[in-house]
Amino acid sequence: MSEPLIFDRSVPGRRAVTFPASDVPATPLPPGTRKAPPALPEVSELDAVRHFTRLSESIYSIDKGFYPLGSCTMKYNPKLNDVAASLPGFAGLHPFSPEGGSQGALELLWQLEHILCEVAGMARFTLEPAAGAHGELTGMLITRAYHRHRGDDAKRRKVLIPDSAHGTNPATAAGLGYEVVEVASDARGGVDVAALRAACDDSVAALMLTNPNTLGLFDEHIDEIAAIVHGAGGLLYYDGANANAIVGRVRPGDMGFDIVHFNLHKTFSTPHGMGGPGAGPVGVVESLVPYLPVPLIARGDGRYSWRWDLPHSIGRVRAGYGNFGVLVRAFTYILANGRDGLEDISGHAVLNANYLLARLGELFDVPFDRRCMHEFVVSAKSLKAKTGVRALDIGKAILDRGMHAPTVYFPLVVEEAMMVEPTETETLEVLDAYADAMAAIVAQAERDPESLHAAPISTPVGRMDEATAARKPIVRWTGEAAN
């Protein structure tokens, strides 16, 4: 039984929240007020509580179970972080508070910035970008400002991006008018150095690289890659989507990167919130600091303030100072973990991934026979050839076993890809249960493949007809019962 739309529960005159009567003399409303009220639902408080509670019950979450969605770092989100963000001194702080009345927030942001600098090996960070893709946009604007300042922008029209990259990388570069040049992967899953060398000349603005990449593999040629790109006058952009693998082990700055974004909702465990809010702070090396967005924090005489006088800045990328509540959570997480804890995070994330790869490698094709980092990609290519059961079917079948699917069909360089990222907060028992469930699915595929095309069968709805939905989009309630 599906939950009705909240609009379909509405009864005229029913109410939940009321407000006190006005305690000031009345002023007539201005002309041009609304002729007809918006058709918001009219329900009791209990109606609302039940509706949203029921909706929540049909959402799979980390709090419910294992969520090894590759490249998303779905680790445990400590409750302490939410408690910190909701403290009245943070949640009730107005963004236009004078600096003297917001020293605690400024100190927190200052400390967080300097911790991120240390983790990344960068000179400064902006905490303004609201998400990873927003960080990419910020980083590429900095890239352009740098080349422009050197009088070099007109000819630097190309951004190099490996074929295994996230979709946001080419979308960001192309959105800024750059020509996206895809760089092939080599037989070990890294950047094909010869192809990179061939693509590199004085028309290159930057290389955008995720390391470890979306195959979960660390690029062993990173020294050489950095030298080639820098030799051509380009910058190196580090997509920090996979930073959970490297925290405390290796720093993007030491690998030769000039610009870095971290996804705090991945590496630093702020809750994903069904798709946001996140935070995508961007760090840069010393020579790029002048281009960072305004404002930056400054400290002097034991006092913190905002600095606006950055003549070469790319400007603002967001109103306010970023997703502050998310930044508080990440800061709280880092305080709890400390330097040893952060190193343990990458260590155990990589241990869990390698263990699960060893187990799943017995069931599926392993496209690159190497040690993985925090995630890995296996392929259902052979299983599909033998039984007709695809990565999609396996992903759906694992839902029936009460766990979450891997990321499927990504990265694009592996056929029938299943990308698995277990994270460090899962126990050995959970990993074993997942591998056992996968083994049972493979056995079922060999015995009764048809049954897997029908999966999932235990969820509130089965596979949806997305093609019809896109052809005849119904994207809002219109007053007619939508059944």
């Binding site: 329900v43 290796v250 050995l428 949806m464």
Partner: protein
């Protein structure tokens, strides 16, 4: 403290399975030349008790958060209902990700569909997306979308637009390569106007629509959605795209974020819309459900040809607004708007009785916020007396020296307003 569950025995068993002796060996493929050969230079980890003490110390060092809030400029101290605060603590809402697996994400998809519908109802538009980062980036993306939709180049920003939004649009304009002009002409893709401007004044949206449409441009309206229980829906006044920030719909001010941007338009623009959109679909047994739809616009499918690079949005904040609007209903939202309007006008009447204090725009109708001129800078001294007003306006508008904004929401009582008046009298005495 650590959130890692491994025992020593677990580690040994797992390392054995992968054929290694230590965790450090897992990182052997990283060239020694780049590896960090020292511990990170940050403090050791703390226990939960110690962490709480430290974040409490930092939170307590924000005196402005304890003041009575009359600050505005785009973030407003509204009442957040208890049921909303309680529901938002559910781990299912906090710890799920984007609904890539529709079968186990129907709750996420359904509330998003409800959110889109609510935004359409408020704005008078035909389609809304699942949210943007904030109001400023939604405004910049609206400019980009109008350019794609009209095939024209230039964008015109009305003078009363929030100056931080203006700065963000300028950054995007520089990056995406489009000019910002001062007046509408045959090259204008979009005229962007606030329905209620940065100074709290109500703008003539219908007149702006005539100007834009006469030149063949689109009209983008930036609005405060919490006022749309009282103010006419921009869609009914000629808007083609309506955007804004959702913080006033039940989100804490939280030093400016996270909130969400909303993005609504006419249906004929939907295939150029940025961000995620949820639609109704049916499964093979004909059961009604919801899916991410029209994904051919998006970066994970189209890569370099996407309408925007947006991926993560602000879903959890959009849920907060969905619950807020459900709890308030049309009558509650109207009360919020009317109370704010009444109290703001009472406050303006009382404050302008003080010697030397006057409205900066005496001839313009305002809603819940107004710009005051005072004989000298008063924001700091008022905070010392427990009242937060602002922002001071001379940061962006040198002509408005010693002017500042005062916003009055439904939360403020007559006694608090009278207290502000008394404090300002004292400051100016």
């Amino acid at each position: 403290m650590s959130y890692i569950p491994h025992t020593e025995a677990d580690r040994r068993a797992m390392l054995k399975r992968v054929g290694l002796a230590s965790i450090d060996e897992l990182f052997d493929e990283i060239p020694a030349s780049v590896r960090l050969k020292r511990p990170l230079d940050i403090a050791p980890g703390l226990t939960q008790m110690e962490v709480e003490a430290e974040v409490n110390r930092l939170a307590a060092a924000n005196a402005a958060a304890m003041a009575t809030c009359f600050a505005g400029g785009g973030a407003y101290d509204r009442y957040i209902p208890a049921a909303e605060r309680s529901l938002l603590q559910r781990g299912e809402f906090l710890t799920a990700y984007t609904p890539y697996q529709a079968e186990t994400s129907q709750g996420t998809l359904q509330f998003t569909f409800e959110f889109q519908s609510l935004m359409c109802e408020l704005t008078g538009m035909e389609v809304a997306n699942a949210s943007m980062y904030d109001g400023s980036t939604a405004t910049a993306e609206a400019a980009a979308m109008a350019r794609a939709a009209t095939g024209r180049h230039a964008v015109v920003l009305a003078s009363g637009l929030n100056p931080e939004y203006r700065q963000v649009v300028e950054t995007y304009a520089e990056g995406l390569g489009f000019p910002l002009r001062d007046s509408v002409d045959g090259e204008t893709a979009a005229l962007i106007v606030p329905q209620v401007d940065f100074f709290g004044n109500i703008a003539d949206v219908a007149a702006a629509a005539k100007t834009a449409h006469a030149a063949g441009a689109l009209l983008v309206v930036v609005t405060d959605p919490s006022l749309l229980g009282v103010l006419e829906a921009p869609g009914h006044l000629g808007a083609d795209i309506v955007v804004g920030d959702g913080q006033p719909l039940g989100l804490p001010i939280s030093y400016g974020g996270p909130s969400f941007g909303f993005f609504a338009s006419k249906m004929d623009l939907v295939r150029r819309m940025p961000g995620r959109i949820v639609g109704i679909a049916h499964d093979h047994e004909g059961r009604r459900g919801f899916v991410l739809t029209l994904q051919a616009r998006e970066q994970h499918i189209r890569r370099a040809k996407a309408t925007s690079n947006i991926c993560t949005n602000q879903a959890y904040c959009a849920l907060a607004a969905t619950i807020y609007l459900t709890l308030l209903g049309p009558q509650g939202l109207r009360e919020v708007g009317e109370l704010s309007y009444q109290k703001a006008h009472y406050a303006a009447d009382q404050l302008t009785k003080l010697p030397g204090v006057k409205l900066a725009f005496p001839d313009r109708p305002f809603f819940q916020e107004f710009a005051l001129r005072a004989p000298r800078a008063v924001v700091g001294p008022l905070l010392d007396r427990g009242y937060l007003v602002g922002p001071a306006l001379d940061r962006w508008f040198p002509d408005l020296k010693d002017a500042f904004l005062v916003a009055v929401t439904e939360r403020r009582t007559k006694a608090e307003i009278d207290g502000l008046v008394a404090a300002l009298r004292e400051v100016l005495a």
